[in-house]
């Protein structure tokens, strides 16, 4: 601040050299501060993103030098029935996962936003699955849902209900993955909603009470609209996460049984790292990227029309 003042006032001095101006500039200090992050992002995100775009125009197995084949990967994708099936699985998963996890979190957050004995314990219980590693979650669910020796089938048997195949049944596996991921991710959504709930001004709630609004009417007309920004954020964020589902599948079903849980990113992984079609895998990644971009823009556009309050 003082340095700039000297420079601007010092008209009778000779113009400072480029080096002096660089040293004196606040930009330099600013860039120096962000440089570590910028370098890391460039090396681990921007360069791979650019490189994978090039890769998607190549026939490349990552072992031998690749060669350019134009749009052939994208053309092959448009005729690939397994790719279409993977899109189908991804959509089914997303369409169930997003509403279930967001609505479930809303209910839980409202329930947890009260003065109860031991509320901290309940909040912790909801949050713990989020900080549990995916591998641990996956293995626990594999054990719980084991058709022969699992606890869930044991409970069903005790209740006189028929035994299920769960993750080993092609008709049930994807839904089991939904349950597992909702359990794993709910904590994050609850935290966001809890924060939003606690940000609602008390005087608004009191005003509606004085006006004679019922609890439900208050929730519907006051609380819910004020949670709009949080809901929009969670829907967008959950959708992006759901479309990129991979870890849980990798740890549990590996895309099976009979391909029933082969979602897009898992199919991408199979192509690139099991079949050595890295170019094809990169093309899948770019189709997914464009898909996510379009869906997100649409959600934000809808959100702008429906969400009136900004936090």
């Amino acid at each position: 601040m003082t340095a700039r003042a000297e420079v601007t006032r010092g008209v009778d001095y000779r113009r400072p050299s480029l080096w002096q101006r660089i040293i004196a500039s606040e930009h330099l200090a600013g860039w120096a501060f962000v440089a570590p992050a910028v370098i890391l992002i460039a090396v681990f995100a921007l360069i791979p993103i650019g490189w994978s775009l090039l890769l998607s125009f190549q026939a490349n197995n990552l072992l031998a030098p690749g060669h350019y084949i134009g749009l052939a990967n994208y053309k092959a994708l448009s005729k690939d029935p397994q790719f279409r099936a993977a899109i189908g699985h991804t959509i089914v998963y997303t369409v169930i996962f997003v509403p279930v996890s967001v609505l479930g979190a809303l209910g839980l957050a409202v329930a947890l936003n009260r003065k109860l004995r031991g509320i901290r314990f309940y909040r912790l219980a909801v949050f713990i699955p989020l900080v549990t590693s995916t591998v641990a979650t996956g293995i626990v669910f594999l054990w719980l849902l084991d058709p022969t020796f699992g606890l869930v089938n044991y409970a069903l048997h005790a209740l006189g209900l028929p035994q299920q195949g769960f993750l080993q049944n092609p008709n049930q596996a994807l839904y089991c993955i939904v349950v597992m991921t909702v359990w794993g991710w709910l904590g994050f959504d609850v935290i966001v909603y809890l924060a939003a709930l606690q940000g609602i001004p008390q005087d608004l709630l009191e005003a509606s009470e004085i006006d004679g609004a019922s609890k439900w009417a208050t929730f519907r007309s006051v609380v819910l609209p004020l949670l709009g920004p949080a809901t929009l954020f969670l829907v967008v964020w959950s959708t992006i996460n759901a479309l990129q589902l991979f870890d849980e599948i990798y740890v549990t079903t590996r895309g099976g049984p009979l391909g029933a849980t082969t979602v897009l990113v898992f199919y991408l992984y199979q192509q690139a790292f099991q079949f050595f079609n890295a170019g094809y895998g990169a093309a899948i990644a770019y189709v997914l990227f464009v898909g996510i971009l379009i869906i997100t823009l649409f959600q934000l556009w809808v959100g702008r029309k429906r969400v009136y309050y900004t936090s």
């Binding site: 031998a64 084991d146 080993q168 549990t252 590996r254 049984p257 009979l258 079949f275």
Partner: protein
Amino acid sequence: MKRICLLIVTSALIVAGCGGSGSSSSASSTGSASASGSSGGHVNITLWHGYTDVEGTAIKALATQFNATHPNITVTPQFYGNSDYALQKVLAAVAGGKPPDISYLYGSWAANIATNPTTVNLAPYIQKDPSWNWNDFWLAARNVTTVNGKIIGVPALIDNLALVYNKKLFAEAGIPLPTTDWTWTDFENAALKLTDPSKKQFGWAYVNDASEDTVWRFWAMLWQAGGSILSPDGKQAAFNSAAGLKAMTLLQTLAKHNAIYLDDGSDVYPGVFNSGHIGMLWTGPWDLSQITGHQPYGVTILPADQNHQTISGPDNWVVFNNGSARVNAAVTFLKWFTSPAIDLKWATMTGDLPLRASVAKLPGYNAFVQKYPGIGEWAANLANATQSRPVTTTYPKISTVVGQAVQSVLLGKADPQQALSQAAQQVNGILSAPS
């Protein structure tokens, strides 16, 4: 002045930030040091492996022994983590221009590794030096080192599937124990008799995740029934045959009667076997340490339809080109390391099967067999590993298709003929596609 201090602090931060990745570059700096070391007549080479535990100790001990007896060469074993992810790491090192001289890599990658220009073709070294005694390596292991006439590796590990059975369950069911004369009929009858849903007891176990683990057991059955995977020219699927149908039908029959414990691929079956709920396994010596000390078990060869063939999944030591001096040193090391005497030493230290047939004639062989009860049967069973899976770049795709076919039969979603026809059609599509 304050600003300059800030600059110093931030640049220090940048340096510190880069320091995080510096740990990985230290590995490559040793690589360059050894490159300069080769000019002085003494050659330093690196060997990448994923060995832990007993094997980790053994590789260090044998490298030390080699270095002591070969004053011109120093071999440095470096642990690369889990072998499952070795290919990506080695490829990154190749792309960075500093590959390891020797790396342990899975046999299933052989055809793809052969396409990399840095991979050394060892055929000239082996052909001009008869003391390699190359044909002494088991056929199944040699097959996986050979891609289109090139030899892209030296056998590093060999295994095979044998029949492991729970003696107690056989006695309880009143069935005579499996013998080397067992047929599929004996096997099927025993599996059905050992099955008891009320006790959650299964005759057999099968890995049902549609991965290669699912597929290779099916190949063993296909070969036993006299079938083959591909036509002799490798251009057509050949598993859609009477033999293939027979194998699939056996799976279907046993699955229908709940005689098979279907493992989801997360390696549950050894535990279930240990708890006395599975009568028989088709498995390899890698499970030996897990199943020892729980149930009274026996090991024998697989049952026969036409023959008692088994399948082997060998892995390779692959040499990468870092200049002729280092390639020569790597070849010298591998020849020493896989020589019969050292191979027996390794097998005795680790419980791995010997790579060479002649090892069984060495005086120390009996001690090895006695140290690991059951290992002798697996070692002898290598003579039944007479066929190999196709060593081609398209094999992973073929495996996926056949894995789905086997899984669909096991889950009762398709009948054997339907599953085979559909899989054969898809495999023919894969084989005819331009690569």
